[in-house]
C-alpha cells in the first residue's frame, strides 16, 4: 500500500478493517446489543466457536470495563471502548498472513515496521475458555491478540477457531499518530462537522465513571445478578420439545443473554468495590457455571452442527 494512503480518522480504520475482512469472506456482523466486557462475549464468538459448523465473522463490539473508567483523562484507558473481532472456524492455515494483510489495509507499511508475535496465552475464567496464541507487537506496541481457541465453556473446540482481537482506539491512535484518545479525529477531519473522539465520548466517560464508581446501586445490582442467574437456569430447565409448536427448540441463546448480563453486573459490582478478594472467585465461578450450561445447551443445536431432532 502506498505511503500516502493512510487512514485519516478513527472510523476510517474501522471501515478499512470491515472491507478487508469482508473481502476475505467474513460475514460482517453488527455489535451484539448487550453490555459486554470484550468482543469474545458476542455469541458470534463464544457460541459459534462450539460445535462442528464452519463459521467466519467479523464485527465491531463496544466493550465495557467499569473498573477502567478514568473520567476521560487517561490517554488510552476508558470504561467504554471498541474491539474489532474476527472469528474463523476452522482456523485457516494462512491466518497469520491474513492478519498481516489487515495491518497493511489500515496503513501499516510492512517494509518499515517490526511486527512480532510474542507468546500470550488467553484464558477467560468467566467463560471457562482458553486458547494459545500471541499478542502482536508493532514496534514494541501491542496491537492485537491472536488466539487459537482450545476450549470454550468447558468443551474442547473441534475444529479449532482462530480469533483476532484488535483494540481499535489504541491501534487507530498508533496509525494516526495521536497521543490522547480524546484528540483523535472520529470522522473526516476536513468534514464540515469534524468530530473528535472526545466530542463523541468524553462526556459519556465522565458520566459513566462517576456512575460506575460511586452511584450504581449495589443492592439492586446484586439483586439483578441473582435474577439473571436464576433466569438463565430457568430457561435451560425447560424441555427441548416446545409444547406449542411441537418443535425441538433449545433456548441456548436467550439463556446465554442472561449469562452475559450476570457477567456485566459482576463487573459493575467489582468497580463499586463491594466484592472482596475471596468473594470474587465465587462470583467468577457462578458466571462460569452459567456459561458452561449455555455451552452445553448450544452444542445440542443445529447451529453447532448437531443433527436436528
Amino acid at each position: 500500500m502506498a505511503k500516502g494512503n493512510k487512514p485519516r480518522c478513527f472510523q476510517d480504520v474501522i471501515l478499512r478493517l470491515q472491507s478487508y475482512w469482508a473481502g476475505k469472506g467474513c460475514a460482517i456482523l453488527q455489535p451484539y446489543d448487550m453490555e459486554v466486557g470484550a468482543g469474545t462475549f458476542h455469541p458470534a464468538t463464544t457460541l459459534r466457536s462450539l460445535g462442528s459448523r464452519d463459521w467466519a465473522a467479523a464485527y465491531v463490539q463496544p466493550s465495557r470495563r467499569p473498573t477502567d473508567g478514568r473520567y476521560g483523562e487517561n490517554p488510552n484507558r476508558m470504561q467504554h471502548y471498541y474491539q474489532y473481532q474476527v472469528l474463523i472456524k476452522p482456523s485457516p492455515p494462512d491466518l497469520q498472513a491474513l492478519y498481516l494483510g489487515s495491518l497493511q489495509a489500515i496503513g501499516i507499511d510492512m517494509d518499515l515496521h517490526d511486527i512480532r508475535f510474542v507468546e500470550d496465552d488467553w484464558e477467560s475464567p468467566t467463560l471457562g475458555a482458553w486458547g494459545l496464541g500471541w499478542e502482536v507487537w508493532c514496534d514494541g506496541m501491542e496491537v492485537s491478540q491472536f488466539t487459537y481457541f482450545q476450549q470454550v465453556g468447558g468443551h474442547d473446540c473441534t475444529p479449532v477457531s482462530g480469533e483476532l482481537t484488535y483494540g481499535l482506539e489504541r491501534l487507530a491512535m498508533y496509525v494516526l499518530g495521536v497521543d490522547h484518545v480524546m484528540e483523535m479525529p472520529y470522522n473526516d477531519p476536513d468534514a464540515a462537522i469534524a468530530l473528535s473522539y472526545g466530542d463523541v465520548f468524553l462526556q459519556a466517560e465522565q458520566e459513566y465513571s462517576r456512575y460506575n464508581f460511586d452511584i450504581a446501586n449495589t443492592d439492586a445490582l446484586l439483586k439483578h445478578f441473582e435474577d439473571a442467574e436464576a433466569e438463565c437456569r430457568a430457561i435451560l430447565s425447560n424441555p427441548v420439545q416446545d409444547p406449542k409448536t411441537g418443535k425441538h427448540i433449545v433456548m441456548a441463546q436467550p439463556a446465554y443473554d442472561q449469562c452475559i448480563k450476570a457477567s456485566h453486573l459482576f463487573n459493575l459490582l467489582d468497580a463499586r468495590g463491594v466484592i472482596s478478594v475471596t468473594e470474587r472467585q465465587a462470583y467468577i465461578g457462578r458466571v462460569r457455571a452459567l456459561a458452561k450450561s449455555c455451552a452445553d445447551a448450544f452444542i445440542q443445536t443445529a447451529a453447532a452442527g448437531a443433527d436436528a431432532a
Partner: protein, 682 residues
Amino acid sequence: MPDLLFELFSEEIPARMQERAADDLKRLVTQKLVDAGLDYQAAAAFATPRRLCLSVVGLPARSPASRSERRGPRADAPEKAIEGFLRAVGLRRDQLETRETKKGAVLFAIQEQPGRDVADILAEVLPDVIRNFPWPKSMRWGRGTLRWVRPLHSILSILSKEDGAQPVVFDIDGLRSGATTEGHRFMDPKTFAVHSFEDYESRLRAHHVILDTHERAGRIWQDAGTAAFAQGLELVEDKALLAEVAGLVEWPVVLMGDIATDFLDLPGEVLQTSMREHQKFFSVRNPKTGRIEKFVTVANRETADQGATILAGNQKVLFARLSDAKFFWENDLRVPLAEMAAKLAHVTFHNKLGSQADRITRIAALAREIAPRVGADADMAEQAARIAKADLASEMVYEFPELQGVMGKYYAKKAGLPDEVAAACEEHYRPLGPGDQVPSAPVSVAVALADKIDTLTGFWAIDEKPTGSKDPFALRRAALGVIRLVLENGVRIGLKDAFSLGHAEADRVNLLTFFHDRLKVYLREQDIRHDVIDACLALPSNDDLVLLVKRVRALGDFLASDDGENLLQGFKRANNILRAEEKKDGVFYEGAPEVRFAEDEAERALFAALDQAEASLGPALEAEDFAAAMRALAALRAPIDAFFTAVQVNADSQIVRRNRLCLLNRIRDVMGRVARFEKLEG
C-alpha cells in the same frame, strides 16, 4: 555415511520454550536411533522463533542385522506347552531347531532380523517424535488432531550423502515432509530447497535467518555493547533478557534510543523494570552519572530507513509506559508512608492470619524485642518494621510487584527517614535464596528476622506447614533465611525464645525440628555430615544456632584427626560393652565408679584421666571453646586404649565388674558433655 537434517517449521514458538525443545528434539530422536541400532557420530539441535532443527552426522546406511535365539520347552514336552511357545514366538513347529542339551532335546526359536535402511527407520522415528513431543503446553489448530506448540507448517527431512540428498518422506496429519524451508517472515519469505546441513545453514543466513540462538545472542550483546561504548555508555547486563530476546528474532538488529529527560530522575530500578518487563529493552547506563539514560531494543529486521520508524515507534511506546511510571511515582510521593501502611488494613495477608496491617504490627513488636540482641536500636527497628512493607500499598508496587522493598527504600529516603530505616525496607526481604546476600546492618537484620519468624510461627500456628514438594508460602526459604541471618551475623538468640515472641499457638518444638532439618540441608552443602550434626543436636542450647554450629564444626574437625578417629573407636567399644551388659543384666550402671576397687594400673590411670578431662572440660565449655573441649577429650584416647588392652571388664568379682561398667558409663557421661558420640557413624 549419511547425515540427517530435520527441521520443523511452525508459527512463532514461545521464546522461553525454545532451548528446552531443541534439547528434547535431539534427545528423543537420537535415543530412538540408538534403540534401532543406528549409532551416529554427532548431533546438534537449534531453535529460532519459527523452527526447530536437528542435524545428525555420520549415520550408517543400514541398521545391523540381528539374530535372536529363544529357548523353548523340551522336544518331548506336552503338545500344549509347545503350542504356547509357537504362539509366543510366532513360528511354525518345523521352523524350530532341536538341540541336544544336558536336559535332553530342547526346542529353540531362531529369528533373524535383516538390517533396515536408515531412511525407513527415520520415516517411523521422526513422526513418532513429533506426535509425542513434550511441549509444556501444546495445541490443535484447524481441523487437525496433531498437537504442536503452535500450528506446524512444514517439515524438512533429508538424508545427505556425498552423492546428493534423499528426502525422508512421511505424512503426519495431512502434512508431507519434504526438502524445502522458508526464509525470514518479512525480509525473505521465500521457499527454497536444501541438500545438506551446511547448505541449509548458509542459505538460511542468505535469507536473513541466523539458525543458532547463541550466535544471535552473541550478536545482540556485541552490537548493543558497541553502540553503547561508542557514546561512552555501558550496557546493563541481563542474561535472562538476552536469552529471551534471542528467542524473539531470527535476524537481530540492535537499535539504541533515548529516554526522554522527563524520566531520567525516576529510580534506576523503575526504568529498568518497566523497560525490561513491558518492552524487553536493555538498559544503558552512563558510568559518569550512574543513571540509566538510554535503551537498546532489538528489532527482527533491517529496513530501508535504518530502523528509524521502528525506533520512533518504540520510543513512543516507552514514553507512554514511563509516563505511567512517573505518574505512579509522583502519586506515591504525595502519600505519607504511615498513610500507605494504613491502607494495608484492607489487604488480606492470609484469611487465618489477618491483614497485612495486623502482620506489620506483629513484626514491629517482634523487631523491638530482637533489636538488642543484634545490636540495633529498638525504636529504630520498630520504626523500620512499621514502614518496611508500606510500599505494598503504593501504585508503583501494584504495577511492578518485583519492586517491593526497593520503592519503600526510595519513599523512606524522600520522607527524610534515617538511612538505616530506608535500607531495612529493601533488605528485610533478604536473603531471597541460597545465593542472595544476607543483610548485615543491625536494623535490617532485626526486621528481617522479625518478618521471617512471624511468618514461620504464623503458618505453624494455623498448621500450614510445607509437605513434600509443596511449600506455597516459601517457609523453607524463610527458615533458611533465619539460619543464614543468624549464622552469618553471629546472632546469639535462642530460637525457642524467639518463637515465643511470635504466634503463641505455634508448636515450637516441631518448628525447631524443622529448623534443624533445614540446618542439616544447609550444612550438608558445606560437606558437614548429618550424623555430626545429630551428635550435637541432642545437647542443651541446641536452639542457639551459632553455638550449635560452633560445636558441630569443632567436632567435625576433631573427628577428622587421628586422635578423634581413635577416641571414637574407644568410645564405641566402651559403649557397646556397657549396652550389652546393661541389657543382659536388666540394670543401668549409672553409679559412680570408685577408684578403690580398681585392680590394675591402667584402670587407675583411666580414673585419673577422666578426672583431669572433666576438670578441663568445665572451663572450656563455659567459654564455648569447643576446640579446647575436644583437646581435653583427646587426652582420654591413650588411657582408654590402655584400659581395654590391660583389663577384662567382665571380671569374676561382681564388685570389680560392676565398678568397671560404671567406669565405662563415666566415659560416656564425660564425653557426652561435648557431644553424643553414640550418634556418630563409623
